[in-house]
């Protein structure tokens, strides 16, 4: 068990637990904070997977912007608290659990069947320059498209949310 794997396991456990708590917590604000933990652990996983730039972007955008956005949303919608308000009926929850478990089992089985033996080789962290090169040379079109999408989303959000 290499150090890398140990680190990964710790991060995975923390992240998994946090993710679980996000979806089962009775308090919306707590759920948002658990989300922060989960997203951060994912950033840590990125670091272990030789993707430092992605990890930083994850922290900045996700943890920084998106979670803040969510917190604002919670605040503006008078975040209610309590199981009765936040969760669906028991029947729906059981159904959801079944579906979720089904998805997990299916994914695990298939992935294990397909990639059971594969290993990730030790490698140097991807240089940001390489990433930038790739984006602006090979994937410049999707990059522009995503930019336009962000612009549209920005304008759209303003239009939708303004009071007139």
């Amino acid at each position: 068990m290499t150090g890398q794997e140990v680190a990964f396991l710790i991060l995975a456990v923390v992240g998994g637990l946090a993710g679980l708590l996000v979806v089962t917590s009775r308090n919306v604000v707590h759920a948002a904070l658990y989300l922060v933990v989960a997203l951060s652990s994912v950033a840590g996983v990125y670091l272990l997977l030789a993707a430092p730039f992605v990890a930083f972007v994850q922290v900045i955008i996700y943890v920084g912007a998106i979670v803040v956005l969510i917190l604002f949303g919670i605040m503006l919608t008078r975040a209610p608290v309590g199981r009765r308000v936040l969760d669906n009926t028991l029947r729906a929850r059981v159904g959801a659990f079944v579906v979720g478990a089904g998805v997990f089992v299916m994914l695990t089985v298939f992935l294990a069947g397909a990639f059971g033996e594969a290993r990730i080789a030790n490698q140097a962290a991807t240089a940001t320059a390489a990433l930038g090169n790739s984006i602006f040379r090979n994937y410049v079109l999707p990059f522009e498209a995503v930019s336009v999408l962000l612009l549209a989303a920005l304008i759209g959000a303003i239009v939708l949310a303004r009071r007139d």
């Binding site: 989300l35 956005l69 919608t77 990433l131 994937y139 995503v146």
Partner: protein, 101 residues
């Protein structure tokens, strides 16, 4: 490390997100669960990128794009939730069933 580790981690996060989408009544919570799912997808992408040691680092590029799109989506999603809240005083998505039979 075995490729399976991050993949299983991603699968778990994804399944948790699925559960959250289906079991939560609050619209904002549903959005949070969707974020979980998107993150799971990202982990998958980055893991495969590391496994395949792609020259073009496409996995990470794609992951970046997904993050951007996720951000856009959360923005719009919350704008919609706010609008619904303003009109109906509730963010209980059970009560937003205008497309009902």
């Amino acid at each position: 490390m075995p490729l399976l580790y991050p993949l299983i981690f991603a699968a778990f996060l994804f399944s948790a997100g699925v559960y959250g989408v289906l079991a939560r009544r609050n619209a904002v919570m549903v959005l949070m669960s969707i974020e979980l799912m998107l993150n799971a997808v990202n982990v998958n992408l980055v893991a495969f990128n590391a496994y395949l040691q792609d020259q073009l680092v496409s996995g990470q590029v794609f992951a970046l794009f997904v993050i951007a799109v996720a951000a856009a989506e959360v923005g719009i999603g919350l704008a919609i939730v706010l609008l619904i809240f303003r009109n109906r005083e509730t963010v209980n998505i059970d009560e937003v069933d205008l497309l009902r039979w």
